[in-house]
Symmetry: C2
Subunit: 335 residues, 2 copies
């Protein structure tokens, strides 16, 4: 059945029912006053800092249905926003979802989309509290997420607080999502385990919410999530903090399967690929060591914050230094 | 200059500067911790109810640049969201803006867009706290607005609280925006004053925030804003409250210039046109009379809530009753 046959309001009713069916005992549901179905979503506030984030996925720009399913898309559209709340050290709580849809979209596709999104919402204690749907020539998805800090501290991790001498560290591996994108978009055949690892990294990124809280609890002041790529996102920190950075190529955590399948290309994926949604952060070395001991994901020191303002230097295993120029994805320039 | 020449990050910097230049002493600016330029926007919370709303304008669906300027579009994209917060009786505080833009968009067009949006933001004490921009084949604009109730009462106006015997009332006039749309899209030439009134109604709707607060303060429990059209929006109240409605055709407030310029068509505009962003509300008659005395815009009783579940009846001046079937805009059906 086409959504053009079902009609907008029945489609909204359907989504409201899907969301209602996911109701559980999480604090966000308990505090929800009005979700889908009225003019605005409403929930009880408190004394902590409130956080808001909005990000978008556009068909033909961020994704293509030849290699991403609607269900994966639902997961990913929420994940990229939760990741930004995580990178501030916050707790995401509510999401609003705006969909641009061609009238020929299948109703089951919208169900799949929400299935994927609600799976992640449930995992993370987030409630989808509203949104809207509009006709469009192609699919676009805008998600807004609101969260807050833990009332106990109310600290935030910013891009602007890196200090010369801080070590630079990463959660998890990077470059895997870009490898996944390459594999999916170019229809590269790999063994089933590799295919699964790479695909999941690209279509089902895991926002590092717990790790963000752990960083905050250990006193980390500077973080960003890897969305544009290591060089671009480190560049954002350097710009905002008016510092430079030196990274050691050999230390960048790249998944073994990516190295095996893509060889030297894996370095490019790690430096400029983006969409890994791991946390990139800076702090004194002993702080990072403390984080490393408590974290359930690998934490790797990859370099150091320097005084060479806004300049990133890459050092290879032989000590040769290069200054990269291509830094990541730009939406309006030719990439 | 094209935004493709400027690049995404410089474009964001430019927007951040435009927003920063609008800084004033409003409470929202005072409480802002992080606006544009970090992973998420952050502001101090409080003990009141928090409100969130997200709505979208799509080129070729909601607007066309042959008759709407970028500046008007900026105003309108924010206005339609503030209107929903107003219809809950809330105070809007922060907005996030997501733009889908063709790379050939002119930088000055984005400036114009934000000029229009910031004019309304300043009028209403709202801070644009973040958002994102993405490449797209055509323009789409998603805006999220967060607000809260006045801490003193924390009441909300819902769609689901209409009671049989309540009178149905409207702020201002309706049908004017639809007349404006007709005039602009069909290039109809009218006298300068009429042109101005109709155009402003369509491109610069005024969200009824003060009126929403006034309704709440006088104990009104049920409201919605006129976005889909009187019949459709009244239908939303009837559905949510499990009631019916009877409206008197002669009482519907239609602007004199609309009647003069469009004759009988003005009734169709008022019933099904939508986009007026006036408040439609229900309450006991004496409550509405109190509102009428304090309001700075006209308040008109147009009918009554009935027990004929989900059925709307229109009574004309001769007492003839009709049941309308066409109720308003549906995004996915053929309208």
């Amino acid at each position: 059945m086409k959504i053009s046959e079902l009609g907008e309001f029945k489609l909204i009713d359907m989504v409201a029912e899907l969301i209602e069916a996911s109701r559980d005992d999480s604090p966000s549901w308990k505090d929800l006053i009005i979700g889908v179905g009225d003019d605005a979503a409403a929930w009880k506030g408190n004394e902590s800092v409130q956080l808001g984030k909005m990000d978008c996925l556009v068909q033909g720009v961020h994704f293509d249905f030849s290699y991403v399913s609607w269900e994966d898309l639902g997961w990913k559209a929420l994940a990229i926003n939760l990741s930004d709340i995580a990178a501030m050290g916050g707790l995401p709580r509510y999401a609003l979802v705006s969909l641009g849809l061609p009238p020929s979209t299948e109703v089951k596709e919208i169900k799949s989309f929400y299935r994927g999104m609600l799976a992640l919402a449930k995992n993370t204690g987030v409630v989808i509290a509203g949104g809207n749907m509009s006709r469009s020539l192609f699919v676009f998805i805008d998600v807004s997420v609101f969260g807050n800090t833990n009332g106990a501290d109310n600290n935030l991790m910013l891009r602007s607080s890196a200090e010369v001498g801080d070590k630079i560290a990463l959660t998890g591996c990077i470059g895997t999502a870009a490898a996944g994108f390459q594999m999916l978009s170019k229809k590269i055949k790999l063994d089933p385990r590799t295919t699964d690892v790479l695909k999941r990294a690209f279509v089902r990124p895991i926002p590092r919410i717990k790790e963000g809280r752990l960083l905050i609890e250990n006193g980390v002041k500077t973080a960003i999530d890897i969305s544009d790529g290591l060089l671009a996102d480190l560049g954002h920190i350097c710009d905002a903090s008016r510092v430079g950075a030196m990274i050691e190529l050999e230390k960048i955590p790249i998944h073994e399967t990516v190295k095996k399948s893509f060889g030297d290309k894996s370095i490019k994926f790690a430096l400029s690929g983006g969409e890994d949604y791991e946390l990139l952060f800076t702090a004194p070395e002993q702080t990072i060591k403390k984080v490393e001991r408590s974290a359930k994901v690998p934490v790797t020191i990859i370099g150091e914050v320097t005084a060479t303002r806004r300049t990133i230097i890459i050092k290879d295993k032989d000590g040769r230094q290069t200054k990269p120029d291509k830094t990541g994805w730009d939406h309006f320039k030719n990439n």
